[in-house]
Symmetry: C2
Subunit: 90 residues, 2 copies
C-alpha cells in the first residue's frame, strides 16, 4: 500500500443558482474589479488515501464523492490525477 | 477584450488546523472508508473575467485572490491556466 493524494474539484452544476458566487462577484466589483463576468464557488478537497495503485486510489475517491463529498443533484465533481506521497506505508 | 475562465484552488496551509477536513474524514471512516490518511477541505472558485490576454486575466485574478478571495495567513492559492470562453466581447 502506498499513500496517494487525490485532489477533487466540486463545483455547482451549470444552471444551478450560486448565491455565494454572486455575493463574491458583488464584493469584488465594489472593490473596483469591474471586468468580472461570473464567479462560481465550490469546494476543493485533497484526499490522502492508502491504495495499492493510482487507479485504486482514484476509484476509492470517486466512491467517496458519490456517497458523501458531492451532492450530485446540484454539484459536479472532477478528480485530478493522483500523486504519490512520501511517507506511504509499504 | 475576451472572456477567460480562471479556476482557483484555495487550500488551508500546511500545519493549519482544518476542522472541516477532520469532520469529513471522520464521516467517511464511519461509512467504511478506512484507508483515508488525511483530508483537507478548501474552496474551488472559477472566475470569468474579460481581459485582453490570458496573462492579463491571470494577473487580475491573482490580485482578487490577494485582496479578497484567499486569506494569506491561513490559506494558499493556486491559479490554473486560463481558458478562453465562448461568448467573450470582441
Amino acid at each position: 500500500m502506498q499513500l496517494y493524494r487525490v485532489p477533487v474539484q466540486i463545483i455547482p452544476r451549470p444552471g444551478i443558482l450560486d448565491p455565494q458566487g454572486a455575493a463574491v462577484a458583488g464584493a469584488l466589483r465594489s472593490l473596483g474589479f469591474d471586468t468580472i463576468a461570473d464567479i462560481r464557488v465550490g469546494r476543493f478537497i485533497t484526499v490522502d488515501v492508502n491504495a495499492a495503485s493510482a487507479a485504486d486510489a482514484t476509484s476509492a475517491v470517486r466512491s467517496m464523492c458519490e456517497k458523501l463529498l458531492a451532492n450530485p443533484v446540484i454539484e459536479d465533481f472532477v478528480l485530478e490525477e493522483p500523486t504519490l506521497q512520501q511517507g506511504g506505508q509499504s
